[in-house]
Symmetry: C2
Subunit: 314 residues, 2 copies
């Protein structure tokens, strides 16, 4: 059977035809045009799915299911997007609107959740029953796969790993709480820590990398400074890895998955990040005599959104 | 069908005959005698199961399965107890030893995990697919039920909710890490905070309750002082409830269960504790517009160990 996966982003909608094994056979995209409102965006998503069916010489009946990865909170059972900050959506019946023009079953899921499913079907967690996916970007997202299936909880609000509290009464978070993991381990957090370190070390490579303008600082610049052995860069990197490991150890103690896959922009640091995180987790693990999760860098990159969304209907 | 559940504790071994619905039909117990070593203790467990079969006029073939709840880390698939601090056990093949004398399938699980299963079969989480159980005692244990089944992870080290880190680099924990939830929310933690508060408020009801000897302070004395409106008691209770809520919010953001059941010694405070925790969780919840887990006091008390162990084989 064939599937269509739709990756709904704030800038573009990407969609692809995907086979049973999670291979993308054909893909295309259109701008999201958020300002037009949910109905128009969803109509475009349906049209994009129809275009994929037409361009690949298929019929609607060849497609077992369409899956949509949404950057927000979804209710998987009724196909309603509860809310989605970046798109200004609130209680949008996505499935119902898509089914007005397309007679194909529609499934929805959070974008980080579907990326985790993609890694478990066709990526670094392939073949593994229980895995966790982290996306380290502007925020920190999470995906939980239990027994080869997406786990997003009873009300669709689970696997928000970025909002696990690691510092009670710590940094204020956009969610209204304090001390959430993403305040310490997102790319945004690395930039914040980079700025603090640059102020402390005025001759730091961090300051050079952004041309002296800390408003232009990126997480990659901080990571590159760490790789080059710059004192400020190394200090930030160690702190970042420590906080990342603190949360990963909690995930191990709660979920004990077989694989923890790290994706998102920060994961571009690859083995440099992975090896440091593995070493730090090792120092904090509870059951030192029992094997625990392999920590890996995710491999599917941007395609994970399309593949995972498609696999929701499998 | 009938089941036998065995609750292996540091002081006593309790066992019971249990029906499909989780009702205990007959129970008995013997002292554990930890100092005799694992083989002797397990032989006594097997003899206790045989005694239950005989006393109730059954045959071994009437018993579908025996389940054992163990105060340690278990590997459910091979029936080996990985380790168990209080019993000084290390890699004990419990299933194999029991099966030397009893020809009945044997299942094992962590004691907090089986108590959670008991609450989900016959207690406060009855009929609910996804639930989490917390036991607030000397330490903090956890049980996770996903889709009506125990979830203890890939290597049997999951659901150790007491070792979720809520204060990075906080109080040192017996597990070797820092800032684990149980350092702030166990009965032990409440006693520690009670002692600190008593030192600050020399006329506190806490000091009166323990007759001026803080070595005799119990969590119940602190809780009773809070209930009576004593300043020191109220201060400790508020702090305790805050830390408990911080971890519960993380559990909601990760696992989004339908029910979170609070058991263990501290839960004897009942509605006084439950209502305070509910109010504090409310202030920290991420998705305020979406329903989230009901927070309840567990109802099965000490019987949860027998019932849940029995239900492992269902």
């Amino acid at each position: 059977m064939l599937y269509i996966g739709v990756d709904l982003g704030g800038t573009n909608i990407a969609a692809g035809l995907v086979d049973e094994e999670g291979h993308i056979l054909h893909k295309c995209s259109v701008p999201t045009g958020v300002e037009r409102g949910a109905e128009a965006v969803i109509a475009d998503m349906a049209a994009l799915c129809q275009r994929i069916i037409d361009e690949t010489g298929n019929k609607a009946s060849d497609i077992k299911a369409i899956g949509v990865g949404v950057p927000g909170i979804c209710h998987p059972s009724n196909g309603v997007v509860e809310f989605c900050t970046n798109l200004f959506w609130h209680q949008v019946p996505l499935r119902e609107i898509m089914n007005r023009t397309l007679d194909i079953p529609v499934y929805i899921g959070n974008d980080a959740t579907v990326a985790g499913l993609a890694e478990s079907v066709a990526g670094v967690s392939k073949g593994v029953a229980n895995s966790v996916f982290l996306t380290l970007g502007t925020g920190v997202g999470g995906g939980i796969v239990v027994d080869h299936k997406v786990y997003s909880g009873t009300h669709g609000i689970g696997s928000e790993l970025g909002h696990m509290v690691i510092v009670a009464d710590g940094e204020p978070c956009t969610c209204g709480n304090h001390g959430c993991w993403e305040r310490y381990t997102s790319a945004t957090a690395m930039i914040r820590m980079g700025r603090e370190a640059a102020a402390k070390y005025p001759d730091s490579a961090i300051l050079t990398a952004c041309g002296g303008n800390l408003d232009k600082l990126t997480a990659k610049m901080v990571m590159d400074a760490a790789k080059a052995g710059d004192s400020a860069g190394v200090e930030v990197f160690k702190k970042y890895v420590h906080y990342l490991a603190v949360g990963i150890v909690s995930i191990i103690n709660i979920l004990d998955p077989e694989v923890i896959a790290i994706g998102g922009g920060v994961s571009a640091a690859g083995e440099f990040l992975r090896d440091a995180v593995r070493a730090e987790v090792d120092t904090m693990i509870f059951c030192k005599e029992v094997p625990y999760a392999r920590i890996e860098i995710a491999v599917l990159g941007n395609d994970a959104g399309i593949i995972g969304a498609a696999m929701l209907g499998k």
